[in-house]
Amino acid sequence: MAIISRGFAGRRSTADAKLPPGQYLTTDFPVLSAGPTPHIPLDRWEFTIDDGSNLLKRWNWKSFRELPTETITVDIHCVTRWSKFGTSWEGVSLDVLLADVKTDLSYTMFRSYGDYTTNLPLKDVVNKQAWIAFKFNGADLEPEHGGPARLLVPHLYFWKSAKWVRGLTLMPHDKPGFWEGLGYHIYGDPWLEQRYSDQ
């Protein structure tokens, strides 16, 4: 039974209908990071796919940027409760990156410069659900927002969209990444409000 706060009216808007539970709308683009922003020179950037023992795929910036790209317009939802509607990105679909990777492993751990990691089921990053994004609103992605390139997986809370991404490791079993090991939910569906690990 909720406690009613005497005199609290709150502020609602019609846009709230599109919001997952417990979120509010912002027009800013807030930043959430565990530590300092890494600055990665493009000539040292790479993206790799491995299965924990073997390197399966590798791109440098030039070969990555030769891949076909898509423009994506999506709503994003941060676990710190802001949501932002209609964000516009350009990136390479994980379907492209994983196209000729044959695997029976079912989970992934995305790895970032700065040692951040986040875990995702493989089925959540294929079939037009995830991209490696390098432009936001038509401009190169700023370092504080994850540039040169970040994962974009908008159907989950935005901490899953790892900044400064450098690759992914295919895994047989799910295991927690950085925030997931520090109290946040292993999966993170905003529509089910899966914020914390012990809810």
């Binding site: 609290f8 709150g10 807030p30 802001w82 504080e144």
Partner: protein, 244 residues
Amino acid sequence: MTWRSATVVGLRDETATARTIALAVRDWPSHIAGQHVDVRLTAPDGYSAVRSYSIASAPNSDGRIEITVERLANGEVSPYLTKELLVGDDLELRGPIGGWFVWRRDQTEPIQLVAGGSGIVPLMAMIRSRASVGSTAPFRLLYSVREPGAVLYGDELRALSDQDHSVIVTYAYTRATPKDSSRPPGRIDAMLIATGTWPSNLNPTSYVCGPTSFVEHANDLLIAAGHGRENIRTERFGATGERK
């Protein structure tokens, strides 16, 4: 994580716009300095709004916590918490939340705290936690604040640094300085990092909290001064804290 009922047991104005709210929380499991709570307000028609606030008080076993809330002009929740709330009111709260931006009592290395504005709140919990457990970990605080009247916890910080010289406090005023200040107002810079923080060869762990632009700037200065990025933990707020 369940919602718990909490009763307001004390209110204290810290500045013209910031108020500390003391809460007695039913079945509170205690916390670690640096963690935060979610606070939920519910209107009579069932509409509710939730915001996260850092815990300002040291961990304890008496089921009491304090949060300090800065009133944002266009906020949905902070004006209610800082102006309408009365002692004896109940609200809902869950937590503690967060396992990264925390200081644990068994940490013995030097600690560098860097606060921008109300980013002082979780850092104050660390300073209070250090004092309450009798830790001898060397602490320094670099506190960037708009003007003397915007300083949170000023008297307590002075008393702690007077009694216990291993908590060293350096203020950096960005808009207006006290009369006796030798430094003109301005944002923190390399000179202030050199004189007001632990040198990097002591390998301190740094905790940086404030608005995003402040945190980015402070991190750049710390890294330029030789601090390893793996030793810097950050917590940012701004648009994330409240509806604009």
